[in-house]
Amino acid sequence: MDILSLLVIIPILTIIGIVFCQTQKQTRIIAAIGMSIQLLQSLYVVWAYLKERSLGNTAEMVFTRDYTWFETWNIHYAIGIDGISAAMIALTGVVIFTGIFASWNVKDLSKEFFISLILLSMGVFGFFISLDLFTMFLFYEIAVIPMYLLIGIWGSGKKEYSAMKLTLMLMGGSALLLVGLLGIYFHSAPGGGPLTFNILEISKIDIPVNVQLFLFPFTFIGFGVLGALFPFHTWSPDGHASAPTAVSMLHAGVLMKLGGYGCLRIATFLLPDAATELSTIFIFMTGTSVIYGALGAIMQTDLKYINAYSSVSHCGLVLFAVLMLNKTAFNGAVLQMLSHGLMTALFFALIGMIYGRTHTRDVYKMGGLMKILPFLSVCYVIAGLASLGLPGLSGFVAEMTIFVGAFQNESLFHRIFTILAISSIVVTAVYILRVVGLLLLGPVKNKEYLSLKDAEWHEKLTGVVLIIAIAIIGMAPLWLSDMIMDSLEPIMQKLTSIK
């Protein structure tokens, strides 16, 4: 049995299981069991990957499988992973697992809710294991569509507007992306012969530079929209604000990572000449994202808006690092994806838990929660510290790797934007501490909150699992960064071959 396909099969089996459930309790138990298995499976994949490497397997991708799916167009179900996708799979496993527990008390249409949620995660898993551009795109769409339903039905506030906005903007991104992917496909056989969607095969050939220059913006922006690239980020604040907790977690935690992953694995890997030539303009856009998102977060009053803008800033850093086109920065980009995925999932989980108790997300209406909800508050502080880059938590390792990498690029333009991006560490500290001060510390503002209960077991589980993951990356990053670094070798070879 191939262990990668299991990552897609387990969610499908879980969904089938849920279909036969009668009550909300059964539903969530089946979902929890399914996703626990999925978490174990994704961790096992990482372990198996590391073992495979230690046994001396130096293939570019391991555990590869290839089944022809649609012969006329040479579409395959081709799968395989390297260190980067293994890391992303583990991230997705952790986030979907905790997402189930964060939505433990969804009462309305719980069956449909869990089905959509798990379907979404299946799309993400499929995306990360795919080696075939077409299959990858298919899984990408599978991940985006349930989002519309999840926000539109189970959301809050202006949910219909937000759901529509988010879906349309992401679909707009997909349209651009499709142009890019098809363009790559039609240039995948310069010497004649069958065209191919297979990433590994395309990476062996050189697409003409003028074609690359045309396709790169489509691909990069297409993925970039998903990664909240300025100025296509406005779906993020509204979308997150309306989305139910687990959806925000999955969306900011893993779905936005599809953007960064795609920019690295497809836009940069397959179109290296264009990436080098066009990096300036995109450095401008992503660098702006970083500082703009951070500054935009300072004066927001809605907890989810603060986090949405902070995500714009942090995900901007991912794309920014990708454009620096060196190994250290790439490594940092992947680490930042992991780190941001975990801590933003934690943030959204906690915001959901707090909202579930106080029924407001306005920071000025709350205050002194530390005294009432100590567990949730301490988790919030830890998430905040991770976000502002405290050593020992994941954010620091990722940011420092990016900064060191970005600084290796000696062009003055890049250097200026690097310095601007680094200045975000100060701005991040400002908005994080502002929220912590307003929300958690100080005297209790609203006496009605004094009767609130602190976290229940499933909420504690969510918080603890995410914090442990954050701390593991933060304290012992060596194995992870080495694993990613090894897998960056093909991309680096491709890049250096053109210089």
Binding site: Y292, M299, G392, V404, I419, V426, A429, L441, L478
Partner: protein, 641 residues
């Protein structure tokens, strides 16, 4: 060779103690967490003393020179083939000296807090944070490379943040903790840029490689310049910004006075003896680099130190809060240390400033911790921080009184107390380098004596207060650290410090320069007697002077309005100016244009949806119009042809 690998336990023990106290949350009995904290720091202190003994007296020296020894080293993360961060332990004279200082003061504070913090709700949390701080600070001084130092630098910053904000329901404490963190974060931004720049040109973070005085590595990229200064000068200058932020040098000092919102023992440990001297330690650690490739940056260090010493001393004369007076005096004394480093050269007699700076750091830690703990004892008794609420306490608190007096004499530089010896070396070093800096240092010495004794006389002598409850001496467990630190303040001056710590690791023999020492003592005594004349009894003399100085006094009292300037910049420019306009721009321009696109689409679809009305007449009509149109068009083209 001795096996130094046990040094790693100096880091592991406090970290475990932190986890032990932090993880169970409120479930742990507070006394257990306190005892575990004290026991762990006691074992760390013993390990540090063993290390110091074996390093300084047994095996640290080779051929008469103290060696830099890597006690342990692990790769923490790899950035590229060349750059990586290690976590390790570097032993050399200054790091071993710092181990002794940190573990000693930390032990005293742990013991003292047992009684001082008794009955506080967050007792376990308090000890957890203290352990976290001790761990981070020890990691900082043991750092083998500049990035490890940066890591622990951030960690001490966050422990300081947590401890300043210990009383988290108090708005002023929250504001102070936030301010401390953000101001130092801003400085760390400079520090980080400096590290990146340095690493870019030298391809290493490693201290031993960087500070190797024979190496050509560091001197090779000097040629690259940016805006008139070599890039390495820029790098070292930026790194100094980090140090200046942590060490509360002007103009990044504004967080330190506010940081006094934390519990008093915390102020003694973090904001007087250990964390705030991290900047000095950083400059000392990188000293050969400063000297070899960035002498301009070193000059900046000297003048920043000198100016801060003066600036803070002036403000200290006007304050009314006992802890704030001590905070400004800390700034002033750290200014001395920076100044001494800035005027120092390398090797032999030329390295006097370096040695003097470290010596002052050492003695200052002892007497300043004593002052803060004494202040804590006083605050504990009268329940107020304001010296206006104190007076005549010598009657009620004899031991606190005597120990506080010793500390005051030490900081004023009166022999034979510790401060005299170290300050004398600083004055000598400054005298040999730069007369302007020397005069500043000399003047500040007198000012220091004046404001410290103003404090002393107002608290322990002065007017007889009508106390609600008669103050009484603090319990033994608080008095014990006071006595031990007082003993240290009396004796540490006699340590032949140059034998152990010097710029090049060789022995440096120092002796008192009476030609400079005598005038300095005289000037200090003048300060003391002036303070005595004004404040020993309640007189109006001080009020008269205050009134006579008028605006100048108010300026100094308001700390020269720097806080207001910062507040204006952050609140009006960054928050309301930039951030609000970005939020507006995002909502009304970018998002609105996205919504606009949707509106336009809607509009057109609304307009053309009539085309699919289902009405046959309409279809027929359009069919006719279309057919005729095409016919005309085709005919027209045919005619042209």
């Amino acid at each position: 060779m001795e096996n130094w690998s046990y040094i790693i336990w100096i880091l592991i023990i406090p970290f475990l103690s932190f986890l032990f106290a932090a993880l169970p949350g409120t479930k742990l009995k507070s006394s257990v967490s306190g005892l575990v904290g004290i026991a762990s720091i006691l074992s760390v202190a013993i390990l540090s003393y063993i290390t110091a003994y074996s390093y300084f007296f047994v095996s640290g020296k080779t051929d008469g020179v103290f060696q830099k020894i890597i006690a342990f080293n692990y790769v923490w993360v790899r950035f590229s083939e060349i750059l990586q961060i290690d976590i390790g332990g570097l032993l050399d004279p200054i790091s071993v000296m710092m181990l002794v200082v940190i573990s000693t003061i930390s032990l005293m504070v742990h013991i003292y807090s047992w009684s001082y913090m008794h009955g506080e709700t967050g007792f376990a949390r308090y000890y957890a944070f203290l352990s976290l701080f001790t761990f981070s600070m020890l990691g900082l001084v043991l750092a083998t490379n500049i990035f490890q130092m940066y890591i622990f630098w951030e960690l001490v910053g966050v422990s300081s943040f947590l401890l300043i904000g210990f009383y988290y329901e108090k708005p002023s404490a929250i504001a102070a903790s936030k301010k401390a963190f953000i101001v130092t974060r801003f400085a760390d931004f400079g520090f980080l840029l400096g590290i990146l720049l340095l690493a870019y040109y030298t391809n290493t973070f490693d201290f031993i490689t960087l500070t190797d005085t024979n190496g050509a590595l560091i001197t090779s990229p000097v040629a690259a310049t940016f805006m008139g200064a070599s890039v390495l000068t820029w790098a070292m200058g930026l790194i100094f910004i980090g140090g200046a932020g942590k060490s509360a040098m002007f103009p990044l000092h504004i967080w330190l006075p506010d940081a006094m919102e934390g519990p008093t023992p915390v102020s003694a440990l973090i904001h007087a003896a250990t964390m705030v001297v991290a900047g000095v330690y950083l400059v000392a650690r990188m000293f050969p680099v400063y000297l070899m490739v960035a002498p301009d940056a070193l000059e900046i260090v000297a003048y920043t130190g000198g100016f801060t010493a003066l600036f803070a001393a002036v403000i200290a004369c006007t304050q009314h809060d006992i802890k704030r007076i001590l905070a400004f005096s800390t700034m002033s004394q750290i200014g001395y240390m920076m100044l001494a480093l800035g005027v120092s050269g390398y090797g032999g007699e030329k390295g006097l400033g370096y040695m003097a700076s470290m010596f002052h750091l050492f003695t200052h830690a002892m007497f300043k911790a004593l002052l803060f703990l004494g202040a804590g004892s006083v605050i504990h008794a009268v329940h107020s921080n304001l010296i206006g609420d104190m007076g005549n306490l010598k009657k009620y608190m004899p031991i606190t009184h005597i120990t506080f007096l010793i500390a005051c004499l030490a900081i004023a530089g009166i022999p034979p107390f510790a401060g005299f010896f170290s300050k004398d070396e600083i004055l000598v070093a400054a005298f040999e380098h730069d007369k302007l800096l020397f005069s500043i240092a000399f003047f500040v010495a007198g000012l220091t004596a004046f404001y410290m004794f103003r404090l002393y006389f107002r608290v322990f002598w002065g007017k007889k207060q009508a106390y609600h409850h008669a103050p009484h001496e603090s319990p033994l467990i608080m008095i014990l650290p006071l006595i031990l630190l007082a003993a240290a303040s009396c004796l540490t001056g006699f340590i032949p410090f140059g034998k152990f710590v010097s710029s090049d690791g060789k022995e440096l023999l120092v002796h008192t320069h009476w030609n400079i020492a005598l005038p300095a003592i005289g000037f200090a005594l003048t300060g003391i007697f002036t303070a005595m004349a004004f404040y020993r009894k309640e007189t109006n003399a001080s009020k008269d002077i205050t009134n006579a100085l008028g605006a100048v006094y108010k300026w100094a009292y308001k700390k020269f309005y720097l806080d207001e300037v910062y507040l204006f910049v952050t609140k009006n420019i960054i928050f309301n100016g930039i951030s609000k306009s970005i939020a507006w721009f995002d909502k009304n321009i970018i998002d609105a244009s996205m919504d606009g696109m949707a509106l336009v689409t809607n509009y057109f679809s609304d307009k053309i949806k009539g085309a699919q009305s289902g009405s046959v007449q309409q279809y027929t009509w359009w069919y006719m119009v279309g057919s005729i149109g095409i016919a005309v068009f085709v005919l027209y083209f045919l005619m042209i042809r």
